[in-house]
């Protein structure tokens, strides 16, 4: 064994490991950036991932059209085989129509929040080891995205940017315990703190805790951001599914189901700028 520790192979392994530890520590203290080697390779692989994700979404749509028994879509698919040119035109038309609908919904948000600056992005890959459904989008620092930028869809809040690369960024969702944001009950204005737990993430929910015992929140109420922390105020988060008391009976908490279906996200908007940006940063978790 002592010959191994003197060998050239051991020295190579040790020096690479030490180098990676130094990079990790540097990235941790700098914060919000991908490590250099992951950034370079992630940037190189991004177009392939985007193409494959687009292809797999197309296949999923096609399969779901059949399995859901949508006769019109099946008929359309049969006709598409016969008239390929028309199919292409139809696909282009539907794509434009979908995009128009997508941007129209954001325009409504933009109208009510003129201070918001948006950057549209597409999901290109998921971290399958992350039970909180974190994912990677196809936009990075070259598109004006920076760490801690909020991420939304037309349905509501998705999460925030945890790390930025040149052309890709990682997003942590509202299910993650990394997120700690101030939130309000839209009906009663009762405020609390929203953060995720592993148990609730399994059922696709997150937790609004630190609610006063005298509050009057009810199942079905909408939860919105309060503007504390890194998120602007008034963003829809989800609806209250159940209410419980903490283990010491000091305060109550509510399980919140996000309005956004985090399993089915394909496109998102990153809010790159808004009035009051640069609030408290989320606590460093995972």
């Amino acid at each position: 064994m002592r010959f191994f520790f003197r060998s050239k192979q051991f020295k190579i392994i040790l020096s690479i490991t030490l180098g990676l530890i130094i990079i990790s520590v540097t990235c941790f203290f700098v914060g919000g950036r991908l490590s250099p080697q992951a950034d370079i390779l992630g940037t190189a692989a991004a177009p392939f991932r985007a193409a494959l994700t687009a292809a797999s979404n197309g296949i999923k749509d096609f399969v779901s059209a059949y399995t859901e028994g949508n006769e019109a879509l099946i008929k359309n698919a049969e006709l598409e085989n016969e008239i390929s040119e028309l199919r292409k035109q139809l696909a282009d038309y539907e794509k434009v129509l979908g995009e128009n609908e997508f941007y129209k919904n954001y325009l409504d948000i933009k109208d009510s929040n003129p201070d918001f600056a948006f950057c549209p992005a597409t999901l290109i890959s998921r971290d399958k080891n992350d039970p909180y459904l974190g994912f990677v989008i196809n936009k990075g620092s070259t598109d004006g995205i920076s760490a801690n930028d909020p991420v939304i869809t037309e349905a509501g809040l998705v999460g925030y940017i945890t790390a930025v690369g040149l052309t890709t960024s990682k997003v942590a969702t509202v299910l993650s315990p990394d997120i700690t944001l101030g939130a309000l009950d839209n009906r009663t204005n009762d405020s609390g703190v929203l953060t995720g737990t592993l148990e609730l993430a399994e059922s696709g929910e997150t937790r609004l805790y630190n609610l006063s015992r005298s509050c009057s929140v009810a199942v079905g109420d909408y939860v919105i951001t309060s503007g504390e922390g890194i998120f602007p105020s008034g963003l829809l988060v989800g609806s209250i599914q159940s209410i419980g008391s903490d283990e010491y009976n000091i305060s109550i908490y509510a399980a919140v189901k996000p309005f956004v279906d985090l399993n089915e996200i394909r496109s998102v908007m990153v809010i790159t700028d808004f009035d009051g940006k640069g609030g408290l940063k989320p606590e460093k978790g995972k």
Binding site: S35, R49, L52, S56, S125, N129
Partner: protein, 170 residues
């Protein structure tokens, strides 16, 4: 002087296999997860590759695959780069010094490597930061089932790389 034979076709095929598995692993093409068990296909692939490879091959395969996985993993800076490199050289050393080169050894190594990877992932990202209940839940509900499920995929990769080894030698 004995000169090492080069196999550009096998080298290219290897790169394509790794690229396909990495992109499959990090894209939403087909979900082959069963409940909470999500297989990490790169682990049995690296095990099979390092099992028949030389030191440099195992080292580079672990490093590059790890860097690709780091580019999509939440919270990880160099975790996968370092761990996959260390695990693939561990497979190289164990397969050359402690094990016979047969399918039983490959299965044991695949289970060991998958378990080690998930235990390290749990230790660095859940054990330290999450409460006891949450970290135990991750270990038992996600990590261990995923480790066992990942190791199952050693069978196709083992026979593939055994075939490649035979091609190289003849």
């Amino acid at each position: 002087m004995l000169q090492k034979k080069r196999h550009p076709v096998l080298f290219t095929v290897n790169i394509l296999i790794f690229a396909a598995i990495i992109i499959f692993q990090t894209s939403e093409i087909i979900d082959i997860g069963i409940k909470n068990a999500e297989p990490m296909l790169i682990l049995p692939l690296l095990t099979a590759y390092s099992f028949f490879s030389d030191f440099k091959g195992a080292l580079w395969a672990g490093l590059i695959s790890g860097a690709f996985i780091d580019s999509v993993s939440q919270g990880a800076y160099c975790f996968n780069t370092a761990v996959l490199m260390l695990l693939s050289v561990l497979v190289y050393f164990m397969s050359n010094n402690l094990f016979n080169k047969n399918i039983s050894s490959a299965i044991v190594l695949a289970l060991l490597i998958s378990a080690l990877y998930y235990v390290l992932l749990w230790f660095f990202f859940y054990c330290i930061h999450t409460d006891l209940k949450g970290s135990a839940a991750f270990l038992l509900k996600y990590a261990l089932p995923s480790a066992v499920y990942s190791a199952v995929f050693i069978f196709p990769f083992y026979f593939l790389y055994k075939y490649f080894k035979n091609l190289r030698e003849h």
